[in-house]
Symmetry: C2
Subunit: 337 residues, 2 copies
């Protein structure tokens, strides 16, 4: 029988943190200790884990003593402060924030793509951005089949990527359109109800947003293709859950939709739509663990190219599931105890 680790979740009451708890149970990750950390406001809240009640504790400097792994579903600022404390206390930290992702000595991991990047020496492992996680497994398969030449991505991202308050705000703004009441603007500067906002995260001096930089730079790092030609436009759409992406890929060698479809179907992480009359949509994939790949067709504008439409649950595969998959892989290696 495998050893059972002592695990903590920091930011356990947010959308991603709470989903991490759910996924731990669903993936049958038994823990000898499971502790939940959040801000003062949530202290005392009770969560169920394999039938036990677990009480939320306040996250503080001394939280991590005796833990083997800590899953961080915290902001970049909180991760910057607390991840090193977890490591000092002897834990391995799996961090969902953006803070450590591009650090040279921190592996950035999508298990289906590069779990081998994690060595026994690594004490911090970064979980990529949600829109990157659903993209790179597809790019990896295409690269192996035909060599990636260039990638152009446009995203259709749900509000859940901006947290619980964003779900409430889409709901409240939509209701305000019907009732002609004043519209809340606590999360989104612009109206998101019945509107698309072509800005996610802050704008950078080169005209890209930080979200677009994440897609570009994290994809390069995860795929170990530092010169990958890739550009992205990231757009928030008035949808509650799951992200969709319109993905255009040029390849070095010819690649037919049929060959790609057969290759994707062999891998667990994809749900493929081989009949082009069917395609994934955000409503249908929410709660699913797969990356849904549809509308796979030849790009008629280049010798070797494909257009695709990919959809995944950004809180599950795009965040919580990916982190728990990393944790599970490390437990199986028994890199603790």
């Amino acid at each position: 029988m495998a050893l059972e680790p002592a695990v903590g979740i920091a930011g356990a009451t947010g959308l991603v943190g709470n989903e991490m708890l759910v996924v731990l149970e669903q993936l049958d990750v038994r823990c000898k200790i499971l502790r939940l950390f959040a801000s003062k406001d949530s202290v005392g809240e009770l969560y169920s884990f394999f039938g036990d009640e677990v009480e939320v504790e306040e996250l503080n400097d001394d939280s991590f003593e005796g833990l083997d792994f800590v899953l961080f579903a915290t902001s970049a600022e909180l991760s910057e402060k607390y991840v090193p404390l977890a490591v000092e206390a002897g834990a391995v930290a799996i961090d969902n924030s953006s803070h450590f992702r591009m650090h040279e000595n921190v592996p950035l991991v999508v298990p289906e793509v590069n779990i081998e990047a994690v060595t026994a020496e690594d004490k911090i492992i970064a979980n990529p951005n949600c829109s990157t996680i659903q993209l790179v497994p597809l790019l990896k398969v295409i690269d192996e089949l035909a060599g990636l030449k260039r990638v152009v991505v446009s995203t259709y991202q749900s509000v859940s990527g901006a947290g619980k308050a964003a779900l409430d705000e889409l709901w409240a703004q939509t209701r305000a359109v019907f009732t002609q009441q004043e519209m809340p603007h606590d999360v989104f500067h612009n109206q998101i109800a019945f509107n698309c906002i072509p800005q996610i995260d802050i704008l950078q001096d080169d005209g890209y947003t930080r979200e677009e930089h994440k897609i570009i730079n994290e994809s390069r790092k995860i795929l170990s293709l530092p010169d990958l030609k890739i550009t992205a436009t990231a757009v928030r759409v008035p949808v509650f859950h799951s992200h969709a992406e319109s993905v255009n890929v040029e390849t070095r060698e010819p690649l037919t939709p049929q060959v790609l479809i057969e290759s994707l179907e062999k891998r667990d992480c994809f749900d493929v739509y081989p009949d082009f009359h069917e395609y994934p949509m955000q409503l249908g994939v929410t709660g699913s663990d797969s990356i849904h790949v549809g509308r796979i067709r030849r790009d008629l504008s280049v010798a070797n190219g494909l257009d695709m439409w990919i959809v995944a649950d950004n809180i599950r595969k795009g965040a919580a599931l990916n982190a728990v998959q990393i944790l599970k892989a490390l437990i199986e290696r028994e890199v603790f105890g």
Copy 2:
């Protein structure tokens, strides 16, 4: 003083037909006769035109006698039948349907791009698809400045492109989410409320939708670039009005955002957002006559490329305004009477 033409609008009570009437007045297109045609159901409805009341008549085979121009805002099926009858009766037909657009002898016109394609011999002039109309003026400017090499477009199209009933359906479906009532599905096969649907118009055997073919083929025809390398993914988003497009362009020669911005600013049809902190959105541009171009930035994945975000009112610039602009140009040429 210019001659005043006799003008008819077929399909006058739909979203586009009604907007044609509004735009005729706003652009001060005086008509010695103005007649409105629709199906039996709308007969007798009254519309105002320069202070006069105009009563809707039933569209029939004999509707067009004595008219100089007929604007068609009808389905492809109705246009196929009635446009030739209008021409037989001596009128010039400006048709918003898809039926004649790719006919070899029918000019397909966006006035800012190719009004010179219309000769005195042309009796049928086709108005392009809404998502094409807002794209080609931008492509034309870029082609003149630096030569188009390849274009990748992903669209974010509002429901108004599917007509009045689609507006009602987004409204009713959204309300049904709140009230947990049964959801109407008269227009959209899939739920559009809080969802994106990656299919507009019917799917073709090559995996593209007809909407995507329209963007590709109509752009080539309007720009007189039959070999233009262009691919498109067309997506319906839960927004009432206006279409947005994420546009990636590779050029043959270098082209900086600054040079493009200055060039666009010189032309009337664009509203440019030179400060990258500001950008157009669907909510803000509805009712506007301009093509709004924002988020103009270098595509870092190629030697010569740009990423952009363009938004326009699909019923105005994408349909009614474009048709009336064509009409106005022909009146100024006095190609009637």
